[in-house]
């Protein structure tokens, strides 16, 4: 009996307690973001060492910051921009990635291996390596400060990802499936579109969700390629319009941060499993 209690104790100390602390630290900034978003200004700016500093909750929740966000900034517009850009660039990336993945996974052609490696390498190229020359290219195409600047450039980091994820997925689909279709008279193209793609739907969904979150979260291209307030995306708009010099409008900032996080968190909560499988992908090997 004593041994059992001892083991239970050890389990608490070595497992539940550290995990609990970890989750607490992980989630705390979000909680604090939410509390700040509904805290009235007169309560917000009390120095931390005053006795009446009650940071963890507020007794006078208010929606004034949200109101300010929608009436005095272009937040609604940014939301729409972000949504449009993320959707369109995800669409482009899925289209390109699916076709490329099919070719690389299923067809035999000279140079296929090198191309596969090439796409994998572009996947590892960070945006910060390219943003200056790419901004220059965007200017040459006269796309600066338009949503197209992002709709065309986001796929560059989404396509490699979608391609690799879908290649892995296509490999799990037996070849016999499309061979049967071809024996029945379908062309290669028909077999691909009618047979393989529908079977690969779960993989396409994972890739799409992941690509959407990646474009939603992108920052540096949006920061550099967009300049006028109505064209901005949420991350850039919140940072550039709610910070004036050294003055941070923390209430609206946190309200904006919260609203900007909710859509991805919402999508994510429905597709956690797909998301995790996309993330850990073929790491399992």
């Amino acid at each position: 009996m004593a041994q059992v209690t001892g083991a239970r104790w050890r389990r608490w100390v070595s497992l539940y307690l550290p995990l609990g602390i970890f989750v607490l630290v992980t989630l705390f900034p979000f909680y604090y973001m939410a509390v700040t978003a509904v805290r009235p200004d007169r309560e917000m700016y009390i120095p931390w060492n005053r006795p009446n500093f009650a940071p963890f909750w507020t007794l006078h929740p208010t929606l004034e910051h949200f109101k300010l966000l929608f009436t005095e900034t272009l937040f609604a517009r940014w939301l729409l921009n972000t949504m449009t850009i993320a959707t369109l660039s995800t669409g482009i990336a899925l289209f390109c990635g699916l076709l490329a993945a099919y070719a690389l996974a299923r067809l035999r052609f000279p140079g296929g291996g090198a191309l596969g490696t090439g796409i994998f390498v572009t996947y590892l190229v960070p945006q910060t390596l390219l943003f200056l020359p790419l901004g220059d290219v965007i200017r040459t195409f006269h796309l600066s400060d338009t949503p197209w600047a992002l709709i065309f450039t986001y796929p560059t980091f989404l396509i490699p990802f979608c391609t690799w994820l879908m290649m892995g997925y296509f490999r799990t689909i037996p070849k016999e499936l499309e061979e049967c279709a071809q024996i029945d008279g379908a062309t290669r193209l028909q077999a691909m579109v009618r047979i393989v793609f529908p079977v690969a739907m779960p993989g396409i969904l994972s890739a799409g969700i992941f690509a959407f979150t990646l474009s939603w979260n992108e920052f540096i291209y949006a920061l550099v390629f967009l300049s006028s307030a109505p064209n901005k995306t949420i991350p850039v708009g919140v940072v550039s319009e709610l910070v004036r010099g050294d003055t941070f409008f923390w209430g609206p900032l946190m309200a904006g941060a919260l609203l900007g996080s909710v859509p991805v968190a919402f999508i994510y909560s429905f597709f956690v499993e797909q998301y995790v499988s996309a993330m850990t992908g073929a790491v399992k090997g």
Binding site: T26, P29, V238, M254
Partner: protein, 334 residues
């Protein structure tokens, strides 16, 4: 950023290992010898690949070359520059802010990666031992990873606020400090605050991918080792660690690239300050190329990341290929 498709890399992509000339003439020879059906398959593959190649060519390969060219010119925004050789790089080399940025980037990458790996591994091991709640914990843990980095970093900036810091309040109430800490105020403490936020954001990715790796290891191996009298410590280093190494390597190399090229955390938390002491390559490149419009110098500061990134990618490709030819320890996987 996700990790996907790595283990299958070498299957699809045998790196050209034969001689250069052989590699160049081979496709041509094959084109001549190819049958009609083969050629049709090639054409089909080419058409399927065309959209991706166009996009990646126009917005990755071309800008990359353009970046190298810009770094060798004195271009400013709106004016095509003249070729100046490696002047920009010499200038950067003599620039104390750039040197500091380079040093910061290496410290930042090394410290953040080690901490993320250690913490991520601990959490993954604990989660692997957990019976219930696993799904819930995994789901809530990933939040920092999926929420836009800039937005969660803003919350941290607010938590680090010199006057209203909740972190100070907590530490004060718990009795750890008596005076306030200005988390983003001094060069060293600001760098560590940035590292802290990076670890906060990146650990879930490590934990979840490592957990996925752990779950492929058969419990039989652990039982066998336990029966042979191995302590938990020995079981980790002699059994778990070697079996998990391929996954760990992929995750670490991936995180190294991401951290090394990071921009957002520093941009939001310190803006490179105080007194330009916390710049990374990317934020300094931004300051040069965008804020002061010196496109040439900015491009050079950004290209300066390339050698290191190139080495990491090369190592990663080599490691994946090597790992696949050996397939060590596969028999111990589920």
């Amino acid at each position: 950023m996700p990790v996907a498709g790595h283990p299958s890399l070498s299957e699809a992509a045998p790196l050209p290992s034969r001689g250069m000339i052989g590699a160049m003439t081979r496709p041509i020879r094959r084109l001549r010898q190819a049958s009609r059906t083969e050629r049709r398959e090639w054409l089909f593959a080419f058409i399927l690949l065309l959209p991706s190649l166009t996009m990646l060519g126009a917005f990755v390969a071309y800008p990359f070359l353009r970046g190298i060219w810009l770094s060798l010119t004195d271009a400013v925004v709106g004016r095509e520059g003249a070729f100046v050789g490696i002047d920009n790089f010499i200038k950067l080399w003599n620039d104390s802010i750039f040197r500091r940025a380079a040093q910061n980037t290496f410290v930042y990458t090394a410290a953040a990666t080690v901490l993320k790996l250690t913490l991520g591994m601990l959490v993954a091991l604990m989660l692997n031992n957990l019976m219930g709640f696993k799904r819930f914990l995994r789901a809530s843990m990933l939040l920092p990873w999926i929420v836009p980095t800039v937005l969660s970093t803003l919350a941290w900036k607010w938590m680090f606020d010199p006057t209203f810091s909740i972190v100070n309040w907590l530490l004060f109430r718990l009795g750890f400090i008596h005076l306030r800490i200005d988390w983003l105020g001094g060069p060293v403490v600001a760098m560590w605050s940035v590292i802290l936020v990076n670890v906060w954001r990146g650990t879930p990715f490590f934990a979840i991918t490592l957990l996925a790796g752990l779950q492929t290891i058969s419990p039989d191996v652990h039982e066998a080792a336990a029966i042979d009298g191995a302590s938990p410590w020995q079981r980790f280093w002699r059994v778990t660690w070697p079996l998990l190494l391929p996954v760990t390597m992929v995750v670490v190399l991936f995180a190294v690239i991401q951290t090394f090229a990071d921009f957002q955390l520093v941009y939001i938390l310190t803006g490179g300050g105080p007194a330009n002491s916390t710049h990374l390559f990317a934020t300094y490149a931004y300051q040069l190329g965008v804020a002061t419009a010196k496109l040439g110098e900015g491009a050079a500061a950004s290209i300066a990341m390339f050698p290191m990134l190139f080495l990491v990618v090369l190592f990663q490709l080599w490691y994946i290929r090597r790992g696949d030819s050996g397939k060590g320890g596969t028999q111990w996987r589920k």
